[in-house]
């Protein structure tokens, strides 16, 4: 019985190794192609770069396709990658920070006070979670332009507003589960509500803070349509910059495209490896609560 189990475990491990290879393969193929000349990518993406000219006799001459880091230099210049990168980092970090701060405050207030005001707010936030972005995309763009929110600072207002629904909902879910008595004791001892929130409630909410922060990071970092419609050409983030490589006239520079895809993936992998435990836990609690 135990031996049987061992054998089946070996077989399963082999299957899983094969599957993980399939999972990583697409990225490895892009990585491999990012070092090839742009003319040798679309036709034969599964062929390794060649490092020297080869005479294949009847089949003709195989040219050297390895171009070192040329695609990377090219791409970085073409789409001003580092500007886009800096902008993406700024919008994501600042956006997540204000979402976590303000929605946790709002969630605490509306869960701890019972009034028409907090009830109405709660149901509005829940309602907004259901509505797809397409419903508001045109009118939101117009409102944002009219209020001059069409820049990296202004778009933070939109992220807080559009992301408020889910975040308030998740924070309220957590606050409902913690006893109110500690907070009441703190207030009787002379804490102001603000002190009480930041000294007592916020530290207790840490698990939910990580969950909300991670879910919003994944959303804002990868978001394409909202920043594209609101800020467009003036302030491209990474997804917009990559989309512009395609958007040119005629043929795309496949070499630059491959290189930029790799540069776009690297920060995500670094982030993932650094906080893997929190990301997976955050995603699971987010799904179960939301």
């Amino acid at each position: 019985m135990r031996k049987q189990r061992k054998i089946s475990n070996t077989i399963i491990t082999i299957i899983l190794i094969f599957l993980s290879f399939l999972y990583i393969a697409p990225i490895l193929i892009v990585l491999m192609n990012s070092f090839k000349g742009k003319l040798f990518i679309s036709d034969q993406p599964f062929v390794f770069p060649t490092f020297s000219k080869q005479d294949l006799g009847a089949a003709g001459i195989q040219p050297k396709t390895f171009v070192e880091l040329k695609n990377y230099w090219n791409g970085v210049q073409k789409i001003h990658f580092w500007n886009a990168f800096g902008r993406s980092v700024f919008i994501t970090v600042a956006g997540v920070a204000i979402i976590v701060l303000f929605t946790s405050m709002t969630a605490w207030f509306i869960t701890r006070t019972k009034s028409h005001y907090s009830n109405t707010l709660y149901y509005l936030f829940v309602f907004s979670m259901v509505i797809p972005f397409q419903m508001v995309m045109y009118s939101m763009t117009k409102v944002a332009n009219a209020l001059h929110l069409d820049n990296p600072l202004g778009i933070l207002v939109l992220y807080l507003g559009f992301g408020a629904g889910m975040s308030v909902f998740m924070f309220s879910g957590f606050i409902k589960g913690i006893p109110v008595s500690i907070e009441e004791a703190a207030i009787i001892d002379g804490c102001s509500p603000l002190q009480c929130f930041f000294r007592i409630v916020f530290p207790v909410m840490k698990p939910t803070v990580t969950t909300v922060a991670i879910l919003n990071t994944m959303w804002i970092w990868n978001d394409y349509l909202m920043p594209y419609l609101v800020m467009g050409k003036d302030y491209p983030t990474i997804p917009i910059a990559i989309q512009y490589l395609q958007g040119g006239y005629g043929s795309i520079d496949m070499g630059a495209m491959m290189a930029m895809l790799i540069l776009a993936i690297i920060p995500i992998i670094v982030f993932y490896v650094a906080c893997q435990k929190y990301i997976i836990r955050g995603v699971v609690t987010g799904a179960v609560k939301g």
Binding site: N9, I12, T13, L16, L19, S20, Y23, P26, V30, N33, S42, P45, I98, F102, T103, M105, T106, F109, T113, K114, S115, Y117, L121, S128, M129, V130, I131, P132, Q134, M135, V136, Y138, S139, M140, K142, V143, L147, V157, G161, F162, A164, V180, P193, L194, W221, N222, D223, P239, I242, Q243, Q246, M254, A264, I265, I268, F271, Q276, I280, V283, V288
Partner: protein
């Protein structure tokens, strides 16, 4: 405490509320109103009744096909992703080495953004199809099948970690008792594991359902709907109606309202299902 806290309502709620009004409430009401208007800018809008809604279905030959296409695509995604994810979760909850590594690998694609994913797979699909002298845009079905594969690659890991959490929360005593009573692995799966993870199954089904139904970025970068609009899903069709067809802004907004209503109905069904289960439990 309530009285004390209530005096601070502005500090606690106003920043969020003001942004919410700007980013959601006003655009939502405005958008709903504009679905009954003909306009090219918000200022020149005039009321046209339900004609945008009628045009969305009759005067426009892309919306209904896109809806049907999206429905088929969504069903395929929901079934395939959940089957694969559940299978992976069963394999990775066995006692063996390396499960952490595999979980990490399977989950990773989920973090990569839709635009980047679309271009990665465009390269691969075009490379494969080139062997048959075809491209992704030779026929709409290639784009849709490609999107299904892409979605499986991206979302299976996400659903897998939810199923793993569900499977791990089953008490080992329960399974042990079943094994002692002579239950086969298949019987424990059908009679214990699946019923015990029903809540996870509901969550995953609805997450894959809404994510597939709302899919936009991947669709845009993989084929941009080509050839013609044959591989465009609803979200992309709405976008194209708004921005590529002058004079059709109102129709685009009407389509967006219909899209939102469908998603709201899905959400209500989900809420009902989870509520009724909570009462049982």
């Amino acid at each position: 405490m309530q009285k004390n806290l209530r005096r601070y309502w502005a500090v606690f709620t106003l920043p969020t509320l003001i942004c919410f009004i700007i980013a959601f409430l006003i655009p939502f009401i405005l958008g709903f109103g504009l679905s009954f208007a003909k306009f090219t800018t918000v200022m020149d809008a005039h009321f046209v009744g339900f004609s945008n809604y009628i045009k969305a279905f009759s005067g426009d030959d892309t919306f209904l096909p896109a809806l049907l296409r999206t429905a088929v695509f969504t069903v395929a995604c929901v079934v395939l992703i959940n089957l694969l994810a559940f299978l992976f979760a069963l394999l990775l909850t066995r006692k063996m080495r390396g499960t952490n590594f595999f979980r990490t690998v399977f989950f990773m694609p989920n973090l990569i953004g839709g635009i980047v994913l679309g271009y990665i797979w465009q390269l691969i699909f075009n490379g494969i199809l080139a062997k048959y002298s075809l491209t992704l845009t030779s026929d709409g079905k290639y784009g849709i099948i490609g999107l299904i594969i892409l979605m499986c690659w991206q979302m299976t890991g996400y659903m897998m970690v939810i199923y793993i959490a569900g499977l791990q929360s089953i008490s080992p005593d329960l399974i042990e008792a079943a094994v002692i009573d002579g239950a086969s692995p298949w019987q424990t799966l059908i009679h214990i594991k699946i019923p015990m993870v029903m809540p996870s199954i509901t969550i995953c089904m609805f997450m894959t359902l809404t994510n597939s139904f709302k899919l936009f970025d991947q669709n845009l970068s993989l084929t941009n709907g080509a050839p013609g609009d044959d591989s465009a899903l609803v979200a992309l069709d709405i976008y194209k109606t708004f921005y590529n067809r002058p004079g059709y802004e109102g129709v685009g907004q009407a389509k967006a309202v219909i899209f939102a209503v469908i998603l709201a109905v899905i959400a209500i069904v989900q809420l009902r299902l989870t509520r009724s289960r909570e009462v049982e439990a």
